[in-house]
Amino acid sequence: MLLIHCPYCDETLPEAEFAYAGEAHIIRPADPSTLTDEEWRDFLFIRSNARGPHYERWRHVHGCARFFNAVRDTVSDRFLLTYKAGEKRPDLASLGVAE
């Protein structure tokens, strides 16, 4: 069972309250009609699938219902940090992790 800290509720709660929402910081195209097929493919389907620290979105679906971001190590499943949606992507060095 993962324990996840919701940055809005400021509480650490069991995984069952949350829904995973995929990789974070994937920017929606500003002008979709100009995208090539390759760019659409990359936006929709290609993911980093990182082994190690992974930037990802979670939603506190059975709580405040808000989306937030997290950095989680996908090998140990340990959360390194959770932060509010819209905040700048933290670099790994600031989390004490070698890039």
Binding site: L2, Y20, D37, F45, I46, R47, N49, V75
Partner: protein, 419 residues
């Protein structure tokens, strides 16, 4: 290679079992190979075997970071079936099922393939419509599958609860009689033994650190924990770790790796005659020859390489099993484990060439790796553009996508926890 037979068993019994030899040698890497296959699971070893047997290419190494068959090959719930909706998937998996049939004889190794039937339960109107569509589609493709009423399902699998007031009422089921289970380890061992006998090197406990490319961009070999090993062609068959390996060759894959869990109960007398799958409640169950109930769960919602997965999912799966089969609600579970499955956006496998010259990939089997005949696919892949590979492609009605990261074929059902 010692040939296994009843005679060999008797002979060795009479001589104190001192005559058995190692099934395959643990090879040290040579400097250069024609083909290197990354990942010694069922798919990688199968590819090596068919390369040697059907294409006469024996200067092959299969490299694994751990022990042979220790990844998803040894972690699945042993279900083999081919009742997939789309034409390409049905062909691919049914072809695999054909291969499973004669595999024990061909490999001289008992893979314990048991056609005990796979029954998929429908719990709601959507399931009924969807499964009946599958049945019709399968029959048009020559894949056996038939519809059962709840009473017929109960007759086929007596522990099933078909009462009207059940939490998950059974509204019918789709039954594929040709499908069943196999001893998953034996598949890897059988392929390894047969491939090694034809000269394939199996190199265990040797992580591949990176795929190395030459100045022209083509693959030249792999960097491993035991140093650089040269190769004319490299085929990646690394399941959950495919993204990581491919990244080292600058190829980004449309894959995400999720934990998939399974558990077994204490062994009991034969009570469960078939495989039952319930996709709606994510519960998959069969009974092994040892007597353990083998139970599969769904994938966790988050990506992970931990090979563990979370307990809430196990609780959900066990609760569903107890509802559908109340007979098991006092059963004790012995152990649980997890694997890392590589899932594509459309749940269909990727087999074939990549944008990098001489680099091939076989991945995206997700929760259905054991049944797939990736062995043959990877084999065709490793052959690149020659006639045989082209034939294999035509047979599967697939060509390269105009802009895919790799050729795609098959078309899985867009559901999460299928196997």
């Amino acid at each position: 290679m010692t040939r296994y037979s009843a005679f060999a068993v008797v002979k060795n019994a009479l001589t104190g079992h001192t005559g058995w030899r190692a099934q395959w040698p643990d090879a040290e890497p040579k400097k250069q190979y024609d083909v290197i296959i990354v990942g010694a699971g069922g798919h990688g070893l199968g590819a090596a075997y068919y390369l040697a047997r059907e294409h006469g290419i024996t200067n092959v190494a299969v490299i694994d970071k751990g022990w042979l068959g220790g990844g998803n090959t040894g972690r699945n719930t042993t279900i083999i079936r081919s009742n997939y909706l789309y034409d390409e998937s049905a062909k691919l998996y049914d072809h695999a099922l054909d291969l499973w049939d004669g595999l024990s004889q061909e490999l001289n190794y008992n893979v314990m393939f048991s056609r005990r039937g796979v029954m998929m339960l429908a719990h709601n109107v959507h399931d009924v419509q969807s499964f009946q569509r599958h049945v019709h589609s399968n029959r048009l493709n020559g894949v056996d599958n038939r519809w059962l009423t709840p009473e017929e399902a109960k007759a086929f699998c007596p522990p099933l609860n078909i009462s009207k007031d059940a939490r998950y009422p059974v509204m019918g089921a789709a039954l594929q009689m040709r499908a069943g289970t196999a001893r998953h380890d034996a598949v890897a061992w059988g392929y390894a033994r047969a491939a090694a006998a034809m000269g394939v090197d199996i190199i265990q406990n040797c992580p591949v650190i990176a795929i190395r490319r030459g100045p022209d961009g083509a693959v030249t070999g792999v960097d491993t924990a035991k140093g650089f090993i040269g190769a004319k062609k490299v085929a990646v068959s690394a399941a959950g770790h495919t993204s990581v390996v491919m990244q080292s060759a600058d190829v980004r894959m449309p894959l995400e790796s999720f934990p998939l869990q399974a558990l077994v109960s204490e062994p009991v007398k034969p009570v469960f005659p078939c495989v039952v799958m319930s996709n709606t409640v994510h519960a998959y169950i069969s009974q092994s020859d040892k007597g353990e109930l083998v139970i599969g769960s769904g994938t966790d919602q988050y990506t992970s390489y931990s090979q563990r997965g979370g307990l809430p999912l196990i609780e959900h799966t066990v609760a569903a099993i107890c509802e559908v089969f109340p007979i098991f609600n006092r059963m004790r579970m012995l152990r649980k484990w997890g694997g890392t499955v590589d899932v594509t956006p459309d749940r269909s496998a990727i087999i074939g060439k990549t944008p990098v010259k001489n680099l091939f990939v076989n991945c995206g089997w997700g929760t259905r790796g054991l049944q797939g005949d990736a062995r043959r696919g990877a084999c065709a892949g490793a052959h690149g553009g020659d006639g045989r590979a082209a034939r294999a492609q035509r047979a599967l009605h697939a060509g390269p996508l105009p802009h895919g990261a790799a050729d795609r074929r098959g078309g899985g059902r867009r559901r999460r926890a299928l196997r």
